[in-house]
Assembly symmetry: C2
Homo-oligomer: 418 residues x 2
């Protein structure tokens, strides 16, 4: 079964907003095992929108549009679907009633433009939108499903979960004769894509069912297992031996599965042990704390994060000895060790992790070029330090150091840091 997505809106083509809806829907479709071969973005222009709908309907069984359901003359998704399917736009009285109620409840006057939101192609079904004025649209046309969803993610996501996904799941099972595609993603840190490919070469070359594919993104490689099965349980049984073999080869380089980010994994490990964490950052500048606190409930383990950007703060706050700063400098094994140990002591945490480095683009020296970084983890008994030189952009440098520091913390908690 094949789907196609069209995001509608000139603001997308001007780059004013990033299309997170497309990624959201893509991820949900992948989890349903529905193939997505093309995604498109068109502006608020009726003829181009109509043309792209026609192309997509020529290929896919399911077409999903998002955006362009607003009340202004620029919102043309209703018209685009009507023209591409040769149907009239009609007003849905119950939708008009809803709109009038919505405006009355907020003491606002309804305009003729607002009433455009009660229109849809003849034969369509309107999908309720409890959090906005634009109902969604579902049209069955020539055996295909066409969905149109509102652009704001806060309206699109509940409508997707409540109205779109149940219908797609039923259709996918039906199309697959009672089976659908299931996936499991193993997440790998601290190993490059080519190393992973090398270590698993025979598994990749000999793959049949489940299939095996790699996706590299900054700081990690994802290994995606996929199989066609009748149920989650049947799929899980088929994944298990392959996953066990991959884990046997890659060991603790596999840090998580599916949606588990490094900060979620580390948070779970800390929470399970009733352990607490202190952080000391220099070159990552707060990114470690930001990632750790993106996880709901992080207050159970994170006590404090000291972003000691100046040497004086490293000395005064964390107690890094002046001799260390004078003799070895702030970007040194000795300094990062003192930072981690100082932060841990200061709030009496179980673990502490620290970073110091030269993010660039300036500040490098011949002996310590831009990209030099040291990271330390301590549990109060042992302190481990690693150093690297990663020449890249400031943003990527921060991302990569934060990911590696979290991974060192993870390995330290697991007792597997060499």
């Amino acid at each position: 079964m094949q789907a196609e997505l069209i995001s509608v809106g000139t603001e997308l083509l001007l780059g004013e907003i990033v299309d997170t809806n497309a990624a959201y829907m893509s991820q949900r479709l992948a989890a349903l095992g529905i193939n997505l071969y093309y995604r498109h973005t068109v502006g608020d222009n009726l003829s181009r929108l109509k043309a792209q709908i026609e192309v997509a309907l020529g290929r896919a069984e399911v077409l999903i549009l998002c955006g362009g359901l607003g009340p202004t003359d620029d919102d043309l998704t209703r018209e685009g679907i009507a023209e591409a399917t040769g149907r009239r736009l009609v007003t849905f009285p119950e939708a008009e009633e809803e709109l009038r109620k919505f405006f009355a409840a907020r003491g606002r006057e309804i305009t003729p433009n607002n009433l455009r939101q009660a229109q849809a192609p003849e034969g369509a079904k309107l999908l309720p939108n409890p959090v906005g004025t634009a109902p969604g649209i579902l049209l069955e046309h020539s055996g295909k499903l066409i969905f149109a969803l509102p652009g704001p993610p806060s309206e699109l996501q509940p409508m997707w979960l409540n109205e779109v996904e149940p219908r797609l799941r039923a259709r996918a099972l039906q199309a697959g004769g009672g089976t659908a595609i299931f996936t499991r993603t193993l997440r790998v840190a601290d190993l490059g894509e080519s190393q992973v490919a090398h270590d698993l070469r025979d598994l990749v070359e000999g793959q049949t069912d489940p299939t095996l594919a790699f996706y590299a993104s900054p700081g990690e490689v994802k290994i995606r297992l996929a199989t066609r099965a009748k149920s989650q349980e049947e799929a899980a049984a088929r994944f298990a031996p392959l996953e066990a073999e991959i884990r046997r080869r890659l060991g603790t380089y596999v840090y998580g599965v599916d949606d588990e980010s490094m900060e979620i994994v580390v948070g779970k490990l800390l929470a399970e042990r009733g352990a607490t964490l202190a952080v000391a950052e220099s070159c990552t500048g707060g990114l470690l704390g930001h990632r750790i606190t993106n996880v709901p409930g992080a207050s159970r383990y994170l006590l404090a994060d000291f972003v000691t950007y100046s040497n004086k703060a490293k000395q005064d706050i964390l107690g890094v000895p002046e001799e260390v700063l004078c003799e070895h400098g702030a970007v040194s094994e000795e300094c990062v060790r003192a930072m981690a140990e100082g932060a841990r002591r200061l709030v009496n945490a179980t673990y502490a992790v620290a970073t110091t480095g030269i993010a660039g683009p300036t500040g490098g020296t011949p002996s310590k070029p831009v990209g030099t970084v040291y990271m330390a983890v301590t549990n109060g008994v042992n302190t481990k330090v690693q150093g690297f030189v990663w020449a890249t952009s400031r943003e990527v440098f921060k991302e990569r150091v934060a990911q590696m520091a979290l991974n060192m913390l993870r390995q330290s908690i697991l007792g597997e840091l060499p």
Copy 2:
């Protein structure tokens, strides 16, 4: 002049990553006055990639592809362009040399797969990539320009600025008979789009040249001025009176222009004054520090950021009095004031900014629901506090609080915080 974008990568169609490159390039094209009518995403599949390239070349003068230039067998952008244009893939010896040097410098072995990155369609020009292994590709074919750029934003963006944009600008000037479109964007914080539209209504209704348009994105409104001119200087002279009038009406709500983010603007204000900054964060969890340190040279003004996530850390590190925590709680006007003042004193900074709130999804109470937040700014003489209730997701909450706190700091430095 019309361009079309194709993002290449199955990881995009699986929703594993959000396509920020498409937004970046869209924005740059808009600023060059080049029309972008369609954007597409295709997976790592040669026949579908080839088909989409052919469709795009049938419409646009400029085709830009991103992604799919990596070393693996899944990276098919080189092959896609070659097939769609009927050209052979050839190895570029100087690119092979560069690759060998890159690997040797890092002590890594080069594999035959890596050498695929030295290939391009016959007749192409390779575009240098100083920060990665994948060179870009420029192919002139039937009077059209085809660019292929690497997927990692840290590699794509410098290549765009150094290699793509100068060629597009030259082409746009040529196509426009010596003129091109120039734009200037005024960035507005802490005012809604409808308020901006209201304040500038007559300017919008009476617009001729330059034209005027608004784009709302999370935490800000952008006002885009555009004109067709022979040069940047001619355009600047035309923007000046309109910009002055807008600034007269909106005052310091206009915080920056073009690419100036709030953290860049705040950093400039601090650096110009030789002032220093301390930060104390609770609910933003490091995001404020992360944003401030994304600006190169932030070490000139940022002394330290104390992410005091636990009450004990607020008390022990920042000196928030126990009575404040007992009587008013950690999410209170009194606490955020003590956090800001404590952080400033601790490192003797000129300014300090602090945040405390309930990011959710748990932790709310009837009197302090999820979304409650207090922010403070102090200069050692005066401390200003603001409080809000912003019910939204954890991520958006952190973003919005960080933006507002930085804006309070900006207004405080300018002496305009009420």
